[in-house]
Symmetry: D2
Subunit: 350 residues, 4 copies
């Protein structure tokens, strides 16, 4: 078989994003609440997420780490933005740029055959220009188009220091103005609904490649730079503005730490703000290596970051737990009475 | 007991950093190489790390994620810098700022009694101004001094966009010029040995608090900003400059991704560079959630980032594995014949 | 508060077993099949379980390890027995005796408040005569009645060597003849449906306590003994009798090993039997410690135990995954056309 | 290449057992005690194990689960028996029969090349008659000789119900009387030092194959049976006899549960005995699935099984942690003043 045929054959079956609006799992999740271990914890997490949404004073921050968009969870996050279930998002660049913006450009992620998970064929994938994320495949050429698109967006901006949030607005606008039909996209939906997106390690992804190319193209001329301190400043000001907040964290990493830290940052600025009132985290990370990703939300309370009345860790891989938690909250419908916060406006006026 | 007495009692026993120069584990590690599972993998990882050091053409990048410095591993990394066992470091802000720079200022981390690990006393710790990392305690007042010191350093810099590397040079200089005796510090030792430090999510730590305060103090005047794209650009140029590279990764997260990605970034710039020739990672993260932290180094080869001849994952919590790997390589002594690369100079001249 | 009041208060909210007949998750699970990671694996596992049931030539062996019954999964296994979805069960004593038979006697498991999970109150629980399994509580006095009941059953049997299967028949008969109304019970339902139950480490649970008491009561007279070699012999003969088999394994441990081994045992007896044709395992155990619980089903194929066409590991805590897998297969309804195998009859006649 | 050559090539490099008498790690482990996470926990575990040995009133029970002997840990356990560091052992059949007795017969385990770990070549291994345990290989023909040897031992015993302990004495005697030189073996060394070995799920291993063959050979004649209730009875009587006890548990599973349960069993017999005074467990199992293997030793205290003053869990894969813990205790040398308990004598006279 020729290489190109082989590649076509491997990239045949796209990952499909699950649509939580189709699955009313309220009674299933409630039944799980009377069981033990993860089932019980998941039910409580779902109930806390619903409670956040129903609390008119609470702004909700969604934190995304891990390869979630490529895994078929994108539509859930898009739906959350659309239905006013989240007010701000802190995410890794992989989720927002390499995966979501990438799909916004019309590209897809593909299901890998089981044998590819062993890694025994990675050299062959390398030769075919296919990148692998565990059981999922990506066409590297398409990823390069994504990098290049970020570069073009940077090239058209006035050179100065931007927060990742500002740059992601530009990326949302790009998708919004695209002449091609655009797929569901968090970046686009957040742009349209004025939900701010933060990516505190913005260059650690496809965007980084685009920005490195942008810098190379500029030579000694001024460049677009991404100021992560500005991100932190903006999210802190949002916290001060909103006061009551809840966190829905999928995975740990930088987004978890960054969003938790804003309570302390507000204090550093001399503003007294309440701890995050609600906090849910879905993770399989282990507490015993001392890493932040697996650290308990109770531990975060020693730092004055998270209150402990409504906190729940869920020990589950995200693709199994997130659809249930999100579908529960969506079908409970508290979002129907929730006004959009449009926090991007607050930041624009800042 | 009064609160202050209670606090003094809790913060009584400091974590002591292990000194690998005292423990010749070569034969122990070699014996482990004839066993199975983690013992065998660890021995191979140690052997690969030694091989990197002995390879005159290979520049070594150390990646640090997780709370490693607070855990007593600092002296190991300081020793690696001092003994030319690493040429560049990519780390989380927690390691470099909250923990290493913090200790450089004269502060310590403290051992918590076992019962505190349960989280049952976190509210009390909160009231005492004590922060907890699993089994380790920190005086929050001292951490605020660390934040404030970062602010002062920012205040004294000319306002413009800095890479985190540049800012960390300023922090190293600060310690170097300190009139107080300074403890062992990665930031200081790297400054003195011209080993560049990168912190791609720089505001996601104590430095973020300092920079937010710096911004607030400046009002509408120009500020110091931290440009993560510049970091990526610099590390990519280092890769192009050095060509052959090896990675020693403790934990995963942003440092792992960032350091791996430079191979692709070089390609984006039109420069053909070899994949990372050597790669070792110590982690307990699981491959099955699709997260980058637990993803295999073989998977990274599908992305063209890591070569697969000399790669080894080690399934172990870092405090157990890193002393053995590092002590093995230190006592093998290949570093004695290794010239310092002083890569900071290359970046300064860039 | 008095101790007895305190105990009553702690043992207030029983764990409720989930009823899969109420939740048609077919389309949810199918949607998960187009995602990645655990969601995709779970969907495939559910599909394989359904395929086993629909295969008229395949006898299905359910393996249970971990505290599953106490966790609210009992009704699922009872339903599987009732609906001819399993033909034999291999389980730990904890599941069959301490938890299932215990509930059959009218006792319950109770939900513990979150703070009890930390272990900070275990001394107090000890004093109240309450046993804890992570987030679940048990009245120790009731557990002693369970031990004592096993003893009475042993006392009434003719002293000789029994397989655990034979003894579990006596336990099922005991429940069947009970004058009190009996709750759902795997032991009872299996007795009524002539589904053999095997417990290869039978004394490693409440049954052990009962048997030790039985032996003590007998002094030097002949006693009832439990012959684990007879268990292995019986299950091996079942394998030879049924030929085609499928395994649904929840957790690992002895049940997983025992059920896999019968293929080899048949070979030792000079009988050629096919490997297990289908195999599904739900576990969070890690492959990297070399333990059998986390070992892959592909590895089992090197031993000639499991075929690799229809095998699937699912990385998930059981309370989350098992309801979905079981409900999928129940609602697909292939069991409606499946004849009961009543394998206990075959063993009786052996 | 012919099949037989291929097999010879794959089974070329044997696993070598680590010799702790060669590695004085006292100062290394003590230094780890001042660090955090696993290092600190391991140091405390080592200190508790040393304390058990130094306590003249404490009988020590070693519990073994997981594939430990095949992994190169055998010599450690042999040394512990020889040096009076343990007084009884509870283990899985895999460790004692398939691996230790197997090596006692002169066979070896072999190191697999890294690529075999992926499972991509298991079908080929199957065809070559090679069994795989993660990164280790076994010659299946040799394993069949092990099965067959167990059968011969059973054939020569008087038919009646034996505890696994009694049968393991017969296996030890077999090795002791062997005319071939016998390698280091736990079964042999325990026989010679009158240290009782318990294997509560005795038929769940190579021994099961041998016993099934024994039964088949006997037809309707009386057979040797293995009574697990007798095991439990014997270990309980040992507990009553010794009173003070300590547990060193490698892995979880049946051995952990069985050894912990004897405290309750003594109580069932109306004998008041103290809880296990010391308890150490090395495991990577997770507490969050409610399984016994990962359950905390503090949780065991709610059951009245383990005291909480000297208990320590160590989150580490055994091949890395056990050599350090055992070498620490061996070199501390408290065993030099410890009298052998020779508990097998007590059971013989029972």
């Amino acid at each position: 078989m020729m290489e190109s045929e082989k590649k076509v054959q491997l990239l045949r079956t796209p990952v499909e994003h699950i649509d939580i609006t189709q699955f009313n799992v309220i009674s299933l999740v409630e039944a799980m609440g009377h069981m033990a271990y993860t089932a019980r914890d998941l039910a409580r997490a779902a109930e806390i997420f619903d409670r956040m949404i129903a609390d008119p004073d609470c702004a909700i921050i969604l934190c995304l780490a891990g390869s979630l968009v490529s895994a078929g969870l994108k539509k859930i996050f898009v739906e959350m933005v659309r239905c006013r279930m989240v007010d701000a998002i802190v995410a890794t660049g992989a989720n927002l740029v390499d995966q979501d913006f990438f799909e916004g450009l019309g590209f897809r992620h593909y299901m890998a055959e089981a044998v590819l998970k062993t890694g025994a064929h990675d050299a062959e994938l390398r030769n075919l220009g296919i990148d692998r994320i565990y059981d999922t495949l990506i066409d590297e050429e398409q990823l390069r188009i994504c990098d290049e698109t970020v570069r073009r967006i940077a090239d058209e901006l006035t050179p100065r220091a931007y927060s990742s949030r500002e740059f992601l607005v530009a990326m949302g606008r790009f998708l919004d103005q695209s002449e091609q039909p655009v797929r569901d996209s968090i970046v686009l939906e957040a742009y349209r609904n004025e939900v701010p997106l933060f990516c505190p390690a913005f260059s650690d992804c496809s965007a980084g490649f685009g920005l490195v190319a942008h810098r190379a193209g500029r030579g000694n001329s001024p460049v677009v730079s991404i100021d992560s301190a500005k991100d932190f400043d903006e999210l802190t000001r949002l916290k001060i503005h909103c006061r009551e907040t809840g966190l829905l964290m999928i995975g740990g990493g930088v987004p978890k730490n960054f969003a938790q830290d804003v309570v302390v940052a507000a204090d550093v600025l001399g503003m007294e703000v309440p701890m995050h009132k609600y906090a849910v985290q879905v993770t399989v990370a282990d507490v015993r290596d001392g890493g932040l990703s697996g650290s308990t939300l109770v531990e975060a309370s020693s730092w004055g970051k998270v209150d402990t009345v409504f906190e729940q860790m869920v020990f589950a891989e995200a693709t199994l737990a997130v659809p249930l938690i999100a579908a529960y909250a969506w079908h409970k419908g508290a979002w129907r009475n929730r006004a959009p916060r449009r926090l991007s406006r607050f930041l624009k006026d800042m």
